[in-house]
Each structure stands twice: as structure tokens, then as C-alpha cells.
């Protein structure tokens, strides 16, 4: 195992020694995500601490770990929705701040009830202009002389809906379409500002198998074609394994980053979890992490 390129950012593992950067970026490569000795505290509980990592431009990264370990917290910290209690975080070379249009976000799955009477298209559009003060009446803006901007926004919304293949049902109320169709429109919403970083929180959770396939194809295609750096929180790493550049593993207040081959090993995960964790490889190339039930490790990968 090449633990040299791994970063085990824990006080226990390293004492007071400062954590090293994960594999230092080659000269010129932009770090899209940069965390330095970062920690997040919610109330009295420290979710994770002393986390230093870098994600370079264009990388496709899975964020893994047991339930409640702080995977969503990591995304929220990068969005500026949760303040760091220690350390620094920057995105695209600037300190994190809310409302960054260069960051697209898909929160943990939200289901729109059948009685939510708003078109999928309107939700996508809110991703573009929803933070702007005023009323959602395009006619008014046209009359006020912003006709060009209105047309341009409409064009962008159409375009992004076509990218996720949702043109057929974008005009139907969001509550009336299937979960997979809703998710495609929500991905369109995350993409509508042409982000350079996508933060996706369990985008496949709760979808039926065909929808999972479609949605994961869309995510991979878009992030590749448009060169969007993507951090994707996942429950099961196997469907993504062939496409991942790196894996971020969050567990027990610690965060590891490295290639899947480096991180998802008995040796590495044992350093986080203790000696009872084992990584198994099945004959068809799937990996399975087996661990103590009470840690909730056995579910995944």
C-alpha cells in the first residue's frame, strides 16, 4: 500500500505534527477545493478536525463513509453553509462563501409531493435567478428593458434541461413526475449557472435501478464533457469505481483522500476504524468493506 501519498489527518495518527498536503499538485494545476487543518463543530460535537486536502481541477471524486460521519457536512462546509471552527477552506482559489455561482449543489434527496404545483422548469430557473430580489414575473423585466437578459436566461434553462434529457417533462408540475425525472431536473438546476465545481449529496439514493443508471450516466458525462470538478457523496462506491480519480473517506472524525486503490484497503481503513475492518474484493471486481456492525461500516463499498 502506498501510504506515502495518503493523508491521515488525525491528531492521534500524527500527534501535533502538522498534516501534510495530500499529493502536492503539479505546478500550474488549479486546486478547486483546498482545505487546511479544517474542523467543523456542531454544538459540542466535533464532526471532523484537522482535515487538509486538495482536489484538482476536473477530478471526479467520491466521498464515502458510514452514516453520520460528516460527508454532507463536508459539502456544506465547502458551500459556506456551515462555518469552520478551525482552519481554512477555499474553493476555486477564493475563501468559501455562500452564493458562489461557480459551485453547483444537489442536496440530499428531496422529494416533491404530488401537490407541489410548480413546473420543473421553474425550479431550474430559480437555480439561475432565485437569489435575485424582485418578483418572478418575466414580463415585468421585459417591460423594464431587460428583454435580452430574459431571453438569454430562458435559452440557458432550455439548454441545461436538454443536457439532462428532461425536455419532455420540464413543463409538468414537479410533483407529478417520477423520482428519477425530478432528480434529472434538480441536476439541471445545479448546472444552470455553469459551475466549475459540482457538490452532489447522494444523487442516486432512493432512485430505482434504471433511474440510478440514467442519473449516474448524466453526472459522469456532464462532469467529463464540461470539465467540471465533481465531489459526489455515495453510499455504494462500486458503480462509480471505474470512473473515480480519487476517494475521500470520512469516518470517526477523520478524513482520508487518495485513489480508491490507496484508500479502500484493509490496512488504511484499519488505521481509521481499528483492526476489525476488512476490505474484500469479489471475483467480479467489486469491493466490500466489512466491519463492526455498531460502526455501520458493513453496509457499503
Amino acid at each position: 500500500m502506498s501510504s506515502s501519498s495518503l493523508d491521515v489527518n488525525t491528531a492521534t495518527a500524527r500527534g501535533r505534527e502538522p498534516a501534510r498536503e495530500s499529493s502536492p499538485p503539479p505546478a500550474g494545476a488549479a486546486e478547486v477545493v483546498h482545505l487546511e487543518h479544517a474542523a467543523v463543530r456542531l454544538g459540542a460535537r466535533t464532526i471532523w478536525h484537522d482535515v487538509s486536502l486538495d482536489v484538482r481541477a476536473g477530478e471526479f471524486v467520491a466521498v464515502l463513509g458510514p452514516n453520520g460521519s460528516g460527508k454532507s457536512t463536508l459539502l456544506k462546509a465547502l458551500l459556506g453553509l456551515l462555518p469552520l471552527s478551525e482552519g481554512r477552506a477555499s474553493v476555486l482559489g477564493r475563501p468559501v462563501h455562500r452564493g458562489n455561482r461557480a459551485v453547483g449543489y444537489l442536496p440530499q434527496r428531496r422529494v416533491f409531493d404530488a401537490d407541489v404545483r410548480i413546473r420543473g422548469r421553474d425550479l431550474v430557473r430559480l437555480g439561475l435567478d432565485g437569489a435575485r430580489w424582485g418578483v418572478p414575473v418575466p414580463l415585468l423585466r421585459t417591460l423594464l428593458g431587460h428583454g435580452d437578459a430574459v431571453r438569454e436566461e430562458r435559452r440557458r434553462v432550455d439548454e441545461v434541461i436538454a443536457i439532462v434529457g428532461a425536455s419532455d417533462y420540464a413543463n409538468r408540475p414537479i410533483g407529478e413526475i417520477s423520482g428519477g425525472e425530478q432528480q434529472r431536473l434538480l441536476i439541471a438546476q445545479a448546472l444552470v449557472t455553469r459551475p466549475r465545481l459540482l457538490l452532489l449529496d447522494e444523487p442516486l439514493e432512493g432512485l430505482d435501478l434504471p433511474s440510478q443508471q440514467i442519473v449516474s450516466n448524466i453526472i459522469r458525462r456532464v462532469s467529463k464533457e464540461e470539465g467540471i470538478t465533481t465531489l459526489l457523496v455515495a453510499h455504494d462506491v462500486n458503480p462509480l469505481l471505474p470512473y473515480l480519480d480519487e476517494v475521500i473517506y470520512v469516518a470517526r472524525g477523520q478524513v482520508l483522500i487518495g485513489t480508491p486503490q490507496e484508500v479502500i484497503t484493509t490496512e488504511t481503513l484499519s488505521r481509521v476504524y481499528g483492526p476489525r475492518v476488512e476490505v474484500l474484493h469479489t471475483s467480479d471486481g467489486r469491493v466490500l468493506v466489512v466491519g463492526p456492525e455498531e460502526e455501520g461500516v458493513s453496509y457499503h463499498a
Binding site: 458551500l79 459556506g80 453553509l81 455562500r98 452564493g99 455561482r101 459551485v103 449543489y105 444537489l106 442536496p107 428531496r110 407541489v116 404545483r117 410548480i118 413546473r119 421553474d122 425550479l123 430559480l126 437555480g127 435567478d129 432565485g130 437569489a131 435575485r132 430580489w133 424582485g134 418578483v135 418572478p136 414575473v137 418575466p138 414580463l139 434541461i161 436538454a162 443536457i163 439532462v164 434529457g165 428532461a166 425536455s167 419532455d168 409538468r172 408540475p173 417520477s178 434529472r184 438546476q189 445545479a190 435501478l209 434504471p210 443508471q213 440514467i214 450516466n217 448524466i218 458525462r221
Partner: protein, 312 residues
């Protein structure tokens, strides 16, 4: 009491009706209030905050009775207690759409506030020895007794409400439907919860003066719910909700003028009828025109996504 009964000459009827200052006042106040309630009601329904609206109205009952007790105008009591209650509800975690888990508990907290408000209202009413008619007016509205002074108050609060709604409309829509993404996009979701509940308190205080505490949903909920049955486009739904609220108010006042029965009854009945028609229309529309739902098949899934079309 009526000079002339209803004729089928509607122009003459309208002229007849509008000869009386009390009808002019009622129509003017009713129009302003319905416009505000229709617009604010759209957001209230979308946010699932009907119970908060109901509570604000009942708190208004205590406020109006309390105002009489200390000798100020009931509408001042309505506004002050309404805003205080709005802040209280927001602090308890004022429920927005997509907040299903927290919703139940908030509802219970609002419910306790509601009960307290009604109890206080009862006490104030007894202490102020308000004659039964006063209480009746607050509960069921007394639109035909609206004065010039009332109209000035209603117009002023309506203007404030409309300006605020116009300013916060789009981010409010975003925060109501999709609070997590809205927050990430920089929308002050929590602040908007407070601002909207205060706006709602204003709208309620205005509407109470026309339809009263108990019938308030006829203007706040029913037109918005009707509009949402008919269109899923926010701009159209907003306009339709306001138009419906104004229409049922006019109709209700006109019919009440020609009959011995109260306007509140007709306003609520017409609003409900519109809602039923809208539901029926949607049911028919769905049965009749819409093609069977098509789903992309497993095999063509990747292709489907790439081309952005669903295979026929």
C-alpha cells in the same frame, strides 16, 4: 331597506349599488384586501403555512379585543399582536416547504399559542365589556361598516405589504420550494421566514376587517389553492390568485347587497365554488387530453440521456 331590487340590467344594478357610500367603502376595502390576500395567500399555501395564518387571525382576535380594552383602534391591536405572534411563530421554527420533519413539532407549538390567544381574547372581550356586536364583527367581518378612516388604514398597510412582497417575491419562492439550495445560493432563508410571517400578519390584519377571523381562509387559502389547481406557473398563479380573490369579493358583496344574508357567507361560498370547479376542470383535463406516461426503458437509458429525447 333597499330602494330597488335586483334587475337583470347589471349596469343599472351596479349604479344602484354604488350610490351608497357604505357600498363604495366596502367595495374599495374589499378589493384592496382581496388583492393582498390573494398574493400573500399564494406564498402561504406554497410554504404550507396555512396553520400559521389561521393562528395569526385568532391572535388578531385577542389583539382587537385588547385594543378596545386599552382604548385604541382594533386594527392597531390586530397589527401589533399579529406581528408579535409572527415573530413568535418564526422563532419556534416557522415551517417552510420541504421541512416535513420539523413541521409536526412546530405545528404543536403554534397550536399552544393559538389556544392561549383565544383565551386571552375571551378575557379581554369580557374586561372591555365589548358589546356582542364588536366580537361578532371581529369574528365574521363587518365589511358593510367600513369607514373612510378604516380605508386609509387598510390602504396604508396594503401598500407596505405589496412593496415587501414585490421585493422578496423571487427569493421567497426559491426558499419556500427548495430551502437547501436557496441557502447555498445565498438566499437568507431564515430571515425570509421572519419577513414572510410578518407580511402574513399584515395581510391577516387587513383581511380580518373584511371577512373576519373565522372566514379569513376564503381570501387567503381558497383563491391560491384554486389558482394552483389551474396553473403551475408562478407568475400566472400569483395573478390568478389575486384576481380570483377580488372576483369572489365583488360577487359576494354584490349578492349580499340584494339579499338579506351576510357578505361573508357569499364570499366564502363563491370562493369554494371556484375551487370545486377548478378541481373538476383539472380532473377532466387530466383524463381527457394527457397521453399515457412514457418512461425511457432500461436498454435505451444512456442514449435517452444523451439525446435528450424519450423514445416513442
Amino acid at each position: 331597506m333597499l330602494d330597488s331590487g335586483f334587475s337583470w340590467n347589471l349596469v343599472a344594478d351596479a349604479q344602484d349599488m354604488l350610490r351608497f357610500p357604505f357600498m363604495q367603502h366596502a367595495l374599495l376595502a374589499g378589493t384592496i384586501v382581496a388583492l393582498v390576500a390573494g398574493l400573500v395567500g399564494y406564498f402561504m399555501v406554497l410554504r404550507g403555512e396555512s396553520f400559521a395564518g389561521h393562528t395569526l387571525a385568532n391572535v388578531g382576535f385577542a389583539g382587537a379585543a385588547g385594543a378596545v380594552l386599552v382604548g385604541v383602534a382594533p386594527v392597531a391591536g390586530l397589527l401589533v399582536t399579529g406581528v408579535l405572534a409572527a415573530l413568535g411563530i418564526a422563532a419556534l421554527g416557522g415551517r417552510g416547504a420541504g421541512d416535513a420533519q420539523g413541521g409536526g413539532r412546530t405545528d404543536i407549538a403554534i397550536g399552544t399559542l393559538l389556544a392561549l390567544a383565544l383565551g386571552l381574547g375571551l378575557l379581554f372581550e369580557r374586561l372591555a365589556s365589548v358589546q356582542a356586536g364588536g366580537v361578532y364583527a371581529v369574528l365574521f367581518g363587518l365589511v358593510l361598516a367600513v369607514t373612510n378612516q378604516d380605508i386609509v388604514t387598510i390602504a396604508a398597510t396594503a401598500a407596505v405589504t405589496l412593496v415587501v412582497v414585490t421585493l422578496i417575491g423571487r427569493p421567497l419562492l426559491f426558499a419556500s420550494l427548495d430551502p437547501d439550495v436557496a441557502a447555498a445560493r445565498g438566499v437568507p432563508v431564515r430571515l425570509l421566514t421572519y419577513v414572510f410571517l410578518i407580511v402574513l400578519a399584515f395581510a391577516v390584519a387587513e383581511a380580518v376587517q373584511v371577512v373576519g377571523v373565522l372566514l379569513i381562509f376564503a381570501l387567503l387559502v381558497t383563491p391560491a389553492a384554486t389558482a394552483l389547481q389551474l396553473t403551475a406557473r408562478p407568475a400566472r398563479a400569483l395573478a390568478l390568485s389575486a384576481a380570483l380573490a377580488v372576483a369572489v369579493t365583488w360577487l359576494g358583496l354584490a349578492v349580499a347587497y340584494y339579499t338579506p344574508y351576510p357578505a361573508g357567507f357569499f364570499i366564502t361560498t363563491f370562493a369554494f365554488a371556484a375551487y370545486l370547479l377548478a378541481r373538476a376542470w383539472r380532473l377532466l383535463a387530466r383524463r381527457g387530453v394527457r397521453p399515457a406516461r412514457r418512461r425511457p426503458s432500461w436498454h435505451t437509458a444512456g442514449e435517452t440521456a444523451r439525446q435528450g429525447v424519450t423514445p416513442a
